[in-house]
Amino acid sequence: MRRPPILFAWGGAALFAALGAGTLPARADEQADALLKEVATATKAAKTLSADLTLSQEVKGQPMKMEGKVKLKKPNLARIELGPPANQTVVSDGKTLWMYMKSDNQYLKRNADVNGLNMFAPGAFPVSMFFNPEFTGLANNLADYKMRVADKETIGGKECQVIEATAEKPISHTIKLYVSPAKLVTRSTIDLKQGQDTIKLTADLSNVQVDQPLTTAAFTFTPPKTAKLYQPPKQEDMEASLVAVGKEAPKFSLPTPTGGHVALTDALKDKKAVLVNFWFYG
């Protein structure tokens, strides 16, 4: 059985790494702009935030849910504990950002951004927007987003205002930010469409407490002695498995999506060279 990828956690970094973040202003909508300003003001005023965190995803109809806890403190302290199946701990002690993956007993570390802008929380807007209340989205350019204020929704007994941002590039997606009565983003959803497939990611904060005193001791982390530093696979290692230069490439004849067949031997006829490319969409 193949384990489905955990998009929010480790795999999520890969999912969104390609999308980057933009700088141009999103397509203006007065109501959405005004609400985002209120969010920015309230978020900037909050010094700490503690809450229960629920991350859920539905990929091709397969649901997955993780429970956890977050403690966040300005300017860049964080502790995010996620239960199964991710079993991850993310800690920013102000200097170093740690991510520990208990299931693999591996960790990664990087320098913590002074303003907490590089937390390992892809797609979890309630976490990332605590440190950066400006909406950055997931598209290459903020200008790709069409913003609007959607109907209010009641989440966990609280009536939330909803900001909806839709972009068609680089893939069609809609982000919803749920703004609590205290004007904080406490829930976000991302709906992605890839071909026939739909992906839905939800990050939800409950039992939110703002400005509870949190000591810096809550933000320390030492990896277990047996834990190993995660080493991303090196390109050279992955290239070592390819057919060596000078060897004959394996012959093939494969179906086309329109019902035909293409054989390598046919492509080679009367050609000086054939470029064989391996790709996938998603």
Binding site: G195, Q196, L242, A244, L254, A273, L275
Partner: protein, 96 residues
């Protein structure tokens, strides 16, 4: 990739793009959106019985590209779309 193909198809190069795991409709939609005119074939589903091509070519990451000479021998291969190196390899084979 389309640009490279358009430029070199009449200079002795053919291109076969082997897809991993996407369904027919997704591939056709993508071909249409990108106006691809080169050969596109379906390599099968990861883990499926029809997935042999990726094992045979040792593919672990995408995109992976191979430049083959007229005898079907590998003259260059690599992960990513390293256009300068791909062009250089093709040029050595007389595609220019």
């Amino acid at each position: 990739m389309q640009k490279l193909y358009t430029e070199l198809k009449d200079k002795g190069m053919d291109l076969i793009a082997i897809n991993s795991g996407d369904d027919k409709d997704t591939i056709n939609k993508y071909i249409k959106e990108n106006n691809w005119t080169f050969n596109i074939v379906m390599g099968g589903q990861p883990g499926g019985a029809d997935y042999a091509i990726f094992k045979q070519y040792g593919v672990q990451a995408y995109p992976t590209n191979y430049v083959l000479d007229s005898n079907g021998k590998v003259v260059w291969r690599g992960i990513g779309f390293n256009e300068p190196e791909i062009r250089a390899a093709l040029e050595k084979l007389g595609v220019k």
